[in-house]
Symmetry: none
């Protein structure tokens, strides 16, 4: 039996990824040493480099997972069978909830992107762009349907909302007065209010 798992049965690559995610979020990418990661994962450096080409690679994997997750959820909400207003509200609230539920990934996302190698950076930006475009298309659909104002450029509206999503990792505390769903509802509400004609 290849020792791909350890005492707890979790495969080594996943253990490494989990440890890296937590540490990158807590201390930042640069402040986290490979040594810390492997210690937290309970393996040796050699094992890390057996599975990941570099520290940078590890960061990229964190991103890939988040990007995939968010894109899937947005697509599901956007393609739902409901009035555009509701679809926007649901999608806007959902991204808040999932961001709060994965605050570590979010911190990393908005703070460490520039640590990726140029090539991987471009790749992440491109996927990010796709996400942005999908959301913008939704806004424009509502605008054409006459339920949203067209006084503000749709791009700007998208960045407005996602700005607040990114910002969550700066101020949101699990032990604060508002739960994820409440925050999500409020932020989606602010967006919809701003979009009223």
């Amino acid at each position: 039996m290849p020792r791909t798992t350890d005492g707890d049965g979790t495969p080594v690559p996943r253990r490494l990824l989990a440890a890296a995610t937590r540490l990158f979020a807590e201390q930042g990418y640069d402040r986290t040493s490979v040594q810390e990661i492997v210690e937290a994962a309970g393996v040796t450096k050699g094992a890390l480099y057996h599975y990941f080409g570099s520290k940078d690679d590890l960061l990229h994997e964190v991103y890939a997972r988040v990007l995939r997750l968010q894109q899937e959820r947005l697509d599901a909400f956007a393609d739902a069978d409901a009035p555009v207003e509701k679809r926007v509200r649901d999608a806007a609230a959902d991204v808040v909830v999932t961001t709060i539920e994965n605050l570590d990934d979010a911190s990393i996302f908005f703070r460490s992107m520039h640590h990726l190698s140029p090539e991987k950076y471009r790749q992440v930006r491109a996927e990010r762009r796709r996400y942005h475009e999908r959301f913008r298309a939704l806004i424009e659909e509502g605008r054409r349907a006459g339920v949203f104002t067209d006084e503000v450029p749709a791009d700007l509206v998208v960045d407005y909302h996602f700005g607040s999503v990114h910002h969550l990792s700066t101020w949101y505390r699990p032990d604060g007065p508002l739960g994820p769903q409440e925050v999500a509802d409020h932020l989606a509400d602010l967006l919809l209010r701003a979009l009223r004609p």
Copy 2:
């Protein structure tokens, strides 16, 4: 003649600060070496350590300058003699304009805060908090006056707007289609729209 200035007449500490600001913004705090900073400023390491206690100190000075500037401007707009709606709109737009005009500082701000020593970090957070409170007070004033909705917590509204301000350094490009003032007007407009009762 003490050589506090150089060919261009700019005092050494300011030259160092300018070089550090640019480099921190371009490469991040951790990726910027003290050596690079002193080379960019045209001085030697000894000089840097003569004026600043540490690399961390340099970062703190960057923050101090931005915080002071923004607080002053917010106070001025908030204390103006005008209807609360206008004061909120003006303040909200102004922070966008000055952020765009100092995008380097902004990048550093939202990306490198966690590199400060715990003590300085607390200090910056406290000043940041004062800023947030002042803005929130303005929102609540409008709310009491009945011109703003009270369906969303004021704190959340403030974070909503500042989220989009932080986000600017991620997407704003000087050579893009919108100038600073246009972006500012749109974003302030979105805020005011969301606040409509």
Copy 3:
């Protein structure tokens, strides 16, 4: 069916040896990783360690093959039925031709010998010595026959010639103006000229 051969029918050990020879020559022994060798040979590390005890072993095998080859050829030329002058000339030219035809082995030989384990190093030196002695005996035979000068120690003469042979891998280029045989004839000629009484 044991998979000692692959698509091309070449047995695994030979494939490994060929890959190692090429890579050692191109990059040097230390710069070549075991991983590179097994990839070039299309096998895995386990296979390599099945056939060879260590990386060092692989190097030793390369030597063994060359040494055996050269000794056989020298013996053949030296034992031929011809005047000593001709036998020296033929042997001297032949070692040049075979060296040029195996330039990779030659590069390795003169650059990587010191990477062998002490024990294998001694062994190679001993075989090398035998080769040297055989050539020297030939020179002395000619000297006793009065066809070669005895103004220069025979050992030195041998080293003189083999120095130029070793040097071939430094300057000889297959696409240069001289073919292997031409170079060989010239170098043998230089040796014989020097040996004229």
Copy 4:
């Protein structure tokens, strides 16, 4: 007083260079760690990287010194006021003597050149080429004067001789039967004998 020297008064860079030269010659470039070098020189790693950009740089400096020395000596002998035969003999013997007197440098030279960065490698090759050309010009001068044979290409003659010079580090032992000058005289003699018309 800056601590550029230590107990023995030798400046740090020179101490490093001396240690590196000895270790590279003894063990080869790849087998010598930076740690060993700084320990042998009695300084810390930081000091090494203060003076030299990389381990490769250190190797390049070793080369630069040898190349400069040999070129100067060749030029002096070649430009002397004497018959061409004598100038060739003197130059040929001198390179043997100085090579034996700096056998460490020579070992490094012919064994570690390929460890240089491509750029530095080209540079060393170019300087090496100049040396070769100078010697070749001398041979051709003698040929035109009718004192040397023209049956063998001059380039080949030069490589013939320098092959034996390179080879010295393989077999010459200070405690052997022949002193540097004797070896030099014999090897120069072999060259001149080969060149006889």
